[in-house]
């Protein structure tokens, strides 16, 4: 098991360097640069450009900049934002809890609805129920997030007035962040109604962010379930006279869930991508919105640091999933 663990961790080293290189190159390949953006329509004189390049360390050869960057990151220094002048890591950590909170609730929602829907569709295979569920899933999967979000806002917040339009909590509640997770902080604050307000603000963005993973999970569950239901051991179980509930719920579902778990693990990346759009629309103060701003401002340290930190999170989650797999399924370990 230790060897397995070490081999997995060893793979992360080149991945990390690769991501760092891509992030580093990505911001520099974008047309336009920090200094031109700072100047805007007004422009920057060549002397000022030279002075600013020197101040930001952009006048050095790329290889030196990159080397310096990697070693700084290894020491935990992700640099300082060129627009807010605050440390990148500090900005990221301030905003990341909001993204985690939204993503966790979204994935729970996706799992809670997606798996039962998939099972149900598999059991009713070929009927209009199956068609209906899978059709809806396909629509959900293809839905442009920004459009879907605005549609929900106009209907639920604008017309029905059931949910607040955007933000994380009503403006009447004001308390300093403790954990950064609004659901927890609102409880800790002891202010009456704060938790409810935080929860009601979370509903629409969570639904929007959950839509694509939900569709994927439902489709994956359905096909895995169909495959398993065709296996011999399920027929045997049925032949033994077990009730359908037990056959499906215990025997079939367990095995069907293995590929579904993989899918859920893979959704972490999808969630973080989706979060960028969702957060922008719902004014949700997470890393997605922050990263978009940073790209627009050509804030090199923030963009490359942000990409790298997100990649590190995804890598960490995948490592955990891999290790769990090893624990659950000995065959993976042997390979």
């Amino acid at each position: 098991m230790l060897r397995f663990f070490l081999s997995r961790v060893a793979v992360l080293v080149p991945t990390f360097l690769g991501v760092a290189l891509i992030a580093f190159a990505f911001v520099r390949l974008l047309p336009g640069d920090t200094i031109t953006i700072i100047g805007g329509e007004r422009g920057v004189s060549p002397e000022r450009r030279a002075a600013l390049e020197a101040a930001l360390g952009l006048d050095r050869p790329y290889i030196v900049q990159f080397g310096d960057y990697v070693f700084s990151v290894l020491r935990g220094d992700f640099g300082v934002s060129t627009s807010t002048y605050r440390p990148v890591l500090q900005e990221f950590l301030t905003l990341f809890p909001a993204t985690i909170e939204l993503s966790v609730v979204a994935i729970l929602l996706a799992v809670a609805i997606g798996i039962p829907a998939g099972i149900f569709a598999a059991l009713k295979r070929g009927t209009w129920i199956d068609q209906g569920i899978m059709g809806t899933a396909l629509v959900g999967y293809s839905m442009p997030i920004f459009w879907w979000a605005v549609l929900l806002i106009i209907f639920f917040s604008g017309y029905l007035q059931w949910t607040p339009v955007s933000g994380r909590i009503s403006l009447m509640y004001f308390f300093p962040p403790v954990t950064g997770f609004m659901l927890i902080d609102s409880l800790l604050s002891g202010q009456a109604g704060a938790f409810r307000s935080a929860l009601s603000h979370l509903i629409l963005p969570a639904i929007v962010l959950a839509t694509i993973p939900l569709a994927v999970i439902a489709r994956q569950t359905r096909s895995a379930m169909l495959e398993v239901l065709g296996e011999d051991y399920v027929r045997t179980a049925r032949a033994k006279g077990l009730g359908p509930r037990r056959v499906v719920g215990v025997h079939a579902l367990r095995n069907a869930l293995i590929p579904v778990v993989t899918t859920i693990g893979l959704q972490v990346g999808v969630l973080l991508t989706g979060a960028i759009l969702t957060e922008t629309i719902f004014s949700w103060p997470g890393i997605g919105k922050w990263l978009i701003d940073a790209v627009g401002r050509r804030d090199y340290p923030s963009v490359q640091g942000g990409i790298l930190l997100i990649a590190i999170v995804v890598m960490a989650v995948n490592l955990v999933v891999d290790l769990l797999y090893g624990l659950i399924n000995p065959r993976v370990r042997a390979r």
Partner: protein
Amino acid sequence: MKLFTRLLAATALTLALGGAASAKTFVFCSEGSPEGFDPGLYTAGTTFDASAHPVYNRLTEFKKGTTEVEPGLAESWDVAPDGLTYTFKLRPGVKFHSNDTFTPTRDMNADDVIFSFDRQGNKDNPWHQYVSGASWEYYDSMSMPETVKSVEKVDDMTVKFTLTRADAAFLANVAMPFASIVSKEYADKLAEAGQQAQFNQQPIGTGPFRFVAYQPDALIRYQAFPEYWAGKQPIDDLVFAITTDAAVRQQRLLAGECHLMAYPNPSDVPAMQQNADLKVDEQQGLNIGYFAYNTKQAPFDKVEVRKALNMAINKQAIIDAVYQGAGQIAKNPIPPTMWSYNDSIQDDPYDPEAAKKMLTDAGVSNLSMKIWAMPVSRPYNPNARRMAELIQADFAKVGVNAEIVTYEWAEYLERSKAEDRDGAVLLGWTGDNGDPDNFLAVLLGCDGVGNNNRAQWCNEDFDKLVQQAKSLPSQEQRAELYEQAQVIFKEQAPWATIAHSVVYVPMRKNVTGFVQSPLGDYTFDGVDITE
């Protein structure tokens, strides 16, 4: 629908009661996050709305709703006859804000004023680089380093600025956000504690609102400053609810989650004007959207060709399609709200037939050209791509074959400056300080060729008038020269002047006292909510 109204009333009530029965909270749905709170470091209006306007004051201020300069922290000033020295008499008894870590021990004085400018212009000032890579962009782009020779303390309440050259726009320049007066005492205290970066995050100013807290990308809280020198504000709390998406801002305004919103989608304005709970304020923007030929490139070096193309453009169609009515046809390079605007000038008529003939007479046939379309939306040009398509179609009618090109924004700005640029560029400008010099000299002066002068146009007569106007002290005399300059501009037609946009500010019906700034700022001093 009844349920809808009842819910709306309930929401409004909750919101009203939300700030506790006594405190009046005003919520502004702003369009983006401020980069920081030290106005000297930035150029974005969004950042100034959150820092310079609520928190700080300047020596001079723009009179509400105008670009006229009035006394601010300086009670009065003297200008030497040669225009080279400005002596400001400071307002006594002006208090700075306090926060958890800082309580001022003295009132604002000359040291604060000198510090506010010195840190921007003097590379040896320890606060010049208090955050790494600090860039004093506006101070530089308004040519302050070349203009200001020295800033001296005459006595505690008197400051003297000595200039290297007479600059009639100087009083307007020191009213700009970058020239906000910061607290030297606060700076010293932070330096002592080694916490210089706080200066940009926990601002201390003399303005109408005290900064309370910023939750990044979510909201900013301010409190009315009880000891504000011009009197306490009618509202108690000011909140900026940061909402990036215009459609979402609109929904929040409709739901009563905010009292006033920035930058609505032009297409949503008519519906909001109809809404019984809202009112929409409108004002001419201090801007110009233009189409600059490269006057160094054949055949655009011929006046007749430029004139002919100007006559081929159907501007009214552009106003309708691109600005969706929220704009007006431009005939001059400066907006009509600006002093010295020459209203006697006649715009080139829209006349494709005559244009065609002029081109033939000029010996131009089968002309092919490029039209550069900006990739971003700006108030002065909400949709350059669409505008380019309309101009392309207009040009086709007079036998000119145009190709539309575009680049990523930063690239676009850079490439369009080149003197050998191929084609005509769509771009625009928003005024910084309400001074005509800020348009005419910056965008059309000979110094700007290869830079901000996208037409690469250097006309000696025009340039002489504009330079001369800069050194005259009286506004009347300057206006006369600028009016003449506009006549030359129209005759020479380096640009097709397209439009000045209209800025809309939707707000709840019960908001009073909000006055739009022609400079496009959102300022909330004097704003109130009636029940």
